[in-house]
C-alpha cells in the first residue's frame, strides 16, 4: 500500500519535512516499486486547522501510512479515523527513511507526538 512522506523537496533525495500540516509537499510512494508522485499540499495555507485539512487531503490518496517528523493531535485523530498509520520522529533523507520503514524499523504512534499548533512555525532543518 502507498505511503505518504512529508517532504522538503520534490525528490527521494530531499529531506523528510518535520512538519505535517504546514508541509509544502508530500511524496506519495509505492514502497514495493519505489514509484512516486509529488503532491503539493493544498491544506498548508489554511488559516486554522491545517493539520486537519492536510490529513483529509492526503487520505484521499488511499495511503496506508504517513512518515513525518511531527504530527499534532488533530491531524493524528483524522489519520487514525481513516485507518492510516502515523509514524512520527522520522528525519533525514527520504530514500533512507523509506528503506528503514520497509525493514520494519519504525513503529506507528498511538497518539500525537507534539501539541497543538506545533508546526505553525517549524522550519525545515530542525
Amino acid at each position: 500500500m502507498n505511503i505518504a512522506i512529508s517532504a522538503s523537496g520534490p525528490s527521494l533525495d530531499a529531506q523528510v519535512n518535520p512538519r505535517f500540516g504546514r508541509c509544502e509537499q508530500f511524496i506519495i510512494l509505492d514502497p514495493e516499486t519505489m514509484q512516486f508522485k509529488v503532491l503539493a499540499n493544498t491544506g498548508q495555507s489554511a488559516g486554522g486547522g491545517a493539520g486537519i485539512a492536510t490529513a483529509q487531503y492526503i487520505v484521499k490518496e488511499g495511503i496506508g501510512a504517513v512518515l513525518t517528523g511531527n504530527c499534532g493531535p488533530n491531524a493524528h485523530q483524522v489519520l487514525s479515523a481513516a485507518g492510516v498509520k502515523v509514524i512520527t520522529g522520522v528525519s533525514g533523507n527520504i530514500r533512507e527513511a523509506v528503506e528503514l520503514y520497509k525493514s520494519g524499523n519504525y513503529s506507528s504512534s498511538d497518539q500525537a507526538n507534539v501539541g497543538d499548533h506545533f508546526g505553525m512555525s517549524k522550519g525545515s532543518n530542525r
Partner: protein, 288 residues
C-alpha cells in the same frame, strides 16, 4: 452615550483612565463599565466590584447525529475553518477551530447536525458604588477573543454613560470593542512606540468613523512629537497625566486617580464634558 478607551500600544494606561473616569462620573451619571480586554481583563483590580452573577460565554458548535448522518461529506466541504472532517463512516468535529457560523448544520441534506454550546470564556456582572460592571474573560488556551467581546458589549446600557476598556492593538477584538462607540479615547505615552501605535489606532477609529481624542499618560518633557502629530491629524489632546512617582505607585497598587488623588476627579469630569461637547458639535442632529 458610549465612550471606548483604546490605545494601540499596551500598557499606556487605558485601564487607569477608564476606571478613573468611572469613579469620577459615578456621582453625576449612571455609569456602566465594560471590561472588553478579555485576554487580560484588569478593571476589577481597580474598582473591586462585588460580583453578582457569572455565566459561561459559548459559541455554537456542531453535534452530529450518527443515526441520521450518511457521511456525504457536505459539512466538511462547507466548513471554511476545517472544524469538521468526514472519514469513511466517522465524523470528527474540532470545536476549538469552529467559528460558529452554522454552515454545516444549515447545509446538511439530512438535518443530521444540531448545534451545541461550547465554552470559550466567562462573563461576570457586578457593581460597586453606583457603577455597573461587566467583565469578559477568555479561557486559557482559547484563541477566539472576539465572540467574548461581542457578548460583553451586549451588556451596554442605553442610559447614562457606558465606558468600554478595550484591549491593545488594532485587530478584530479591538475593533469589536470600539465599533459603535460615540467617542473613542486613545491613551498614549510620549515615546516612539506610543506614537507609532497611536497612529495605527487613529487609522482604525477613523475607518470606523468614530470621533476620537487623545490622553497623554506619563506626560513630561517629550510630549512634543505626540502633540505635533495630534495637531496635524486634527485630534484634540484632552488630558495629560504627568509622569509622576505618586501616580505610578497608585497604579501599581490598583488605585484609580479619582480615589488616590481626589483632585483628579474634576479633571476627569471635565474630560467627560469635553467629550460630550465634541460629540454634540459633530452630530448636532442626533438623539441627544
Amino acid at each position: 452615550m458610549i465612550i471606548s478607551i483604546a490605545s494601540g500600544k499596551g500598557g499606556t494606561g487605558k485601564t487607569l483612565v477608564a476606571t478613573s473616569l468611572a469613579r469620577s462620573l459615578m456621582d453625576t451619571y449612571s455609569v456602566t463599565l465594560l471590561d472588553c480586554d478579555v485576554e487580560e481583563p484588569n478593571v476589577h483590580l481597580f474598582i473591586n466590584p462585588e460580583i453578582t452573577s457569572t455565566e459561561e460565554v459559548t459559541i455554537k458548535v456542531p453535534q452530529v447525529r450518527q443515526d441520521r448522518c450518511n457521511h456525504c461529506g457536505k459539512c466538511s466541504e462547507a466548513c471554511a475553518f476545517n472544524a469538521i472532517a468526514v472519514l469513511g463512516d466517522t465524523v470528527l468535529t474540532f470545536p476549538e477551530l469552529c467559528h460558529g457560523c452554522g454552515a454545516c448544520s444549515y447545509l446538511c441534506p439530512r438535518q443530521a447536525i444540531s448545534e451545541t454550546p461550547y465554552r470559550i470564556g466567562t462573563l461576570e456582572k457586578g457593581s460597586v458604588a453606583g457603577i455597573d460592571f461587566v467583565k469578559g474573560q477568555l479561557d486559557i488556551g482559547r484563541a477566539m477573543a472576539t465572540p467574548v467581546v461581542r457578548r460583553v458589549k451586549q451588556c451596554r446600557s442605553d442610559e447614562g454613560i457606558t465606558l468600554i476598556d478595550a484591549s491593545p492593538g488594532t485587530s478584530c477584538p479591538v475593533i469589536e470593542a470600539v465599533n459603535g462607540s460615540d467617542f473613542c479615547l486613545l491613551v498614549t505615552e510620549p515615546t516612539p512606540f506610543g506614537l507609532n501605535d497611536l497612529s495605527l489606532a487613529v487609522e482604525a477609529v477613523k475607518q470606523l468613523g468614530i470621533p476620537c481624542g487623545v490622553v497623554i499618560n506619563r506626560a513630561g518633557r517629550f510630549n512634543e512629537a505626540v502633540e505635533q502629530y495630534c495637531r496635524k491629524e486634527n485630534i484634540p489632546v484632552l488630558l495629560k497625566i504627568p509622569l509622576d512617582l505618586k501616580i505610578a505607585c497608585l497604579y501599581s497598587e490598583g488605585i484609580t486617580l479619582a480615589d488616590g488623588l481626589p483632585e483628579w476627579k474634576m479633571e476627569f469630569k471635565q474630560l467627560a464634558e469635553r467629550i460630550m461637547e465634541l460629540i454634540g458639535e459633530r452630530n448636532c442632529n442626533t438623539q441627544r
